[in-house]
């Protein structure tokens, strides 16, 4: 092998799935086999819990700090609810990862996709991960045993909305067979890296190839 290496410009992969859709498992499996990809760490105003670590699970900030960041356009996207905690994706940290040639995985719903597309269109690939059926999703939520039946019903009605939004995504995966869906996700990430528009040193590479006669 030669030293010639195509450099990756870095892409933001947004993965959306309804609660119970198996997103964490799929992502964990896919990211095991792929280098140079990292989860984005969100900013939140909610209090730190149990084992959580600031800067790893979230950046934990005060309401005032969040508002300051918002006013200063420091978010790629945010959820600014008047009740409950606020969440946002910090531009600075994401940009630093991209700049170093890494891909970034973001765990957002469709409003986040829309905001990110407006700010960074070409660098975003949005992937919808769907359950094979709402019935199967409900079974998973029930078996998980962490939610009350009231919460499950709420999640189910959100899930129906998520599934219908799939048509606005770049890619659609159905989480039926785990191996298949992991392979599909890996294929999306790896193929994006060899897209011409994502190779930041193509001119240089072509020059190297041609000059080494």
């Amino acid at each position: 092998m030669t030293d010639l290496e195509l450099k990756n410009r870095g892409t933001m992969f947004i993965i959306s799935a309804p609660s119970g859709g198996g997103k964490s498992t799929v992502l964990k499996e896919a990211m095991k086999d792929i280098d140079n990809i990292e989860h984005s760490v969100s900013v939140t105003t909610r209090p730190i819990r149990g084992q959580e670590v600031d800067g790893i699970d979230y950046y934990f900030v005060s309401e005032e700090k969040f508002k300051e960041m918002l006013d200063d356009n420091q978010f790629y996207e945010y959820v600014n609810s008047d009740f409950g905690p606020k969440y946002g994706t910090p531009r600075k940290q994401v940009d630093e990862l991209l700049k170093s040639g890494k891909d970034v995985v973001l765990d957002l719903d469709y409003p986040g996709v829309q905001q990110l597309r407006q700010l960074a269109g070409e660098r975003v690939k949005a992937i919808a991960l769907l359950p094979p059926s709402l019935r199967i999703l409900r079974d998973r939520l029930v078996n998980r045993g962490t939610d009350s039946s009231e919460v499950i019903e709420k999640r189910m009605s959100m899930a129906e909305k998520r599934v219908k939004e799939a048509e606005f995504y770049d890619y659609v995966l159905i989480n039926d067979d785990l191996n298949t869906v992991v392979e599909q996700l890996k294929a999306i990430i790896l193929s994006t890296r060899v897209e011409k528009r994502n190779i930041s040193n193509l001119g240089e590479c072509i020059k190297c190839i041609v000059e080494d006669k």
Copy 2:
């Protein structure tokens, strides 16, 4: 697993590489592991040779027939040289493969990419397969032992042109390590199939997921 299946609209994957670039090996390895993908069979006016089979290696036609097909817009792309044999990609056969949900691999150079993009833009993905260096390419041609040194020089000057054209392709692969490049090609094909715009029955699938409560 459920019966739910995303249907593939079918994509034309054009792969271009300089002579000696290893295209056949890479394609053979990648296509071993992937279903529902076929090589396009070209039409040619050159005489049939040795073991070749009409309809498998090429569709062998007369000069008159070729001209007739050309006048009747039956090609996606063609090379209509006044000397030497003519070649063309027949629309009818390619369209039938795509219609049946198969992907089609086409072995064309950049002029073919341009013609195909004009006629079928969104359904085309063009992949440039480059050698790690012109020096390595020359070594491969010399070791292959099938070409005179005059022919090799001609191929080398064509190769330089091919490499420089890479910036007009959708994907760029460097054929340095065979396994890597085969994985990259497979990733391009598999990820294209889960692109939303290539799923021909997405609305139907969403309906199935949502209605199976």
